[in-house]
């Protein structure tokens, strides 16, 4: 919810600009494919390239929009990985039930984890944004936090799926 309100604030400020963004996920994906250490250094590469390649990219609004574009890339990956993991844990729960194993539901543990993560991420990013006070850095800082935290959650879920990058 907070994230949604935040993106509206950014996009309202940049109606014409969204089409002119030179965003591509290539830089982030190349960094991951190259095996950069730590992999946490890869999220933000595409946003950085977008800021450089977009005309007037170093304005606060453009920076926020480039970072937001990469946030959407990670959020799409997160949704795909999460759905895959939910499906896998449903299968495991069904298998355990069929073999009479009284083991706590993996799917429930996964859903509780993801709910707790969203609340933490939004609260932590609100807090980080508050450190910038009302300054112009607050917008990009808040978007960067959402993008970085979402990328890290993708790494965790992909680790659980047995693929690290």
């Amino acid at each position: 919810m907070k994230a949604a309100a935040f993106v509206l604030a950014i996009l309202a400020a940049a109606p014409a600009l969204a089409q002119d963004l030179a965003f591509s996920e290539a830089a982030t994906e190349a960094c991951l494919a190259d095996g950069a250490e730590p992999r946490e250094s890869c999220p933000g590469r595409s946003a950085g390239a977008c800021i450089e390649d977009t005309e007037g990219g170093y304005s606060t609004v453009s920076m926020g929009a480039c970072i937001w574009a990469e946030y959407q890339y990670w959020d799409d990956r997160l949704n795909a990985s999460y759905q895959e993991l939910v499906a896998r844990s449903e299968d495991a729960d069904a298998e355990n039930a069929a073999s009479g194993l009284a083991i706590a539901s993996q799917e429930q543990a996964l859903r509780e984890m993801q709910r707790a993560w969203i609340v933490f991420r939004d609260t932590a990013c609100d807090f980080e944004r508050s450190l910038w006070g009302g300054g112009t850095g607050a917008g990009p800082a808040g978007a960067d936090c959402l993008m970085q935290e979402t990328a890290r959650q993708v790494f965790r879920l992909d680790d659980a799926l047995g693929r690290g990058r």
Partner: protein, 168 residues
């Protein structure tokens, strides 16, 4: 008599578990080098735990959990220091806002916001680690999986709070 026999069997195991010493130096050295080189100290997480596990007895379930717990405690110490420094600076900031008549009462407490994100982090960390060991709930591997998760996420939060401090 049978109980006594069991004690003699378990005795060397207990002694061995306590004998795997944890040394924070590998992770500490790595953090120092990464910071000096402008690199992300996230690469350093687990260095000491890995070195600890290479020692005799460090590759048993008890040894692995002990080594990971040692590094978790190391990062918890850094987390606590960063949190206390942040809290003190947020309290100063809140007091300066409260002392300004034009803005008094218009801003929520940033110290309270810090405490809130920390409480939510703890709740999420436990839910996350539980979801990681849940697939192995009936196996001994669940201990090491939980210990690894706790260490990794405590380190991540310590580095997160450290970043907040640097941004202020």
């Amino acid at each position: 008599m049978r109980a006594l026999g069991l004690i003699f069997i378990l005795w060397p195991l207990a002694a061995a578990a306590q004998d795997v010493p944890f040394d924070p130096a590998p992770t500490e050295t790595c953090i120092g080098e990464a910071t000096a080189g402008g690199l992300d100290p996230a690469v350093c997480v687990g260095r000491s735990a890995n070195a600890c596990q290479r020692q005799q007895g460090g590759d048993t379930t008890i040894g692995i959990v002990g080594c990971l717990g040692g590094e978790r405690d190391f990062w918890q110490g850094r987390l606590d220091i960063a949190y206390d420094a942040l809290l003190s600076r947020r309290r100063d900031f809140d007091a300066s806002i409260a002392g300004d008549a034009s803005s008094a009462g218009r801003y929520p407490s940033t110290a309270a916001a810090l405490a809130e994100q920390q409480a939510l982090w703890e709740a999420w960390r436990d839910a996350l680690c539980r979801s990681e060991w849940a697939p192995y709930a009936d196996g001994t591997i669940r201990g090491p999986i939980n210990a690894n998760c706790q260490m990794r996420e405590t380190a991540a939060q310590a580095l997160r709070l450290q970043r907040y401090l640097e941004e202020m």
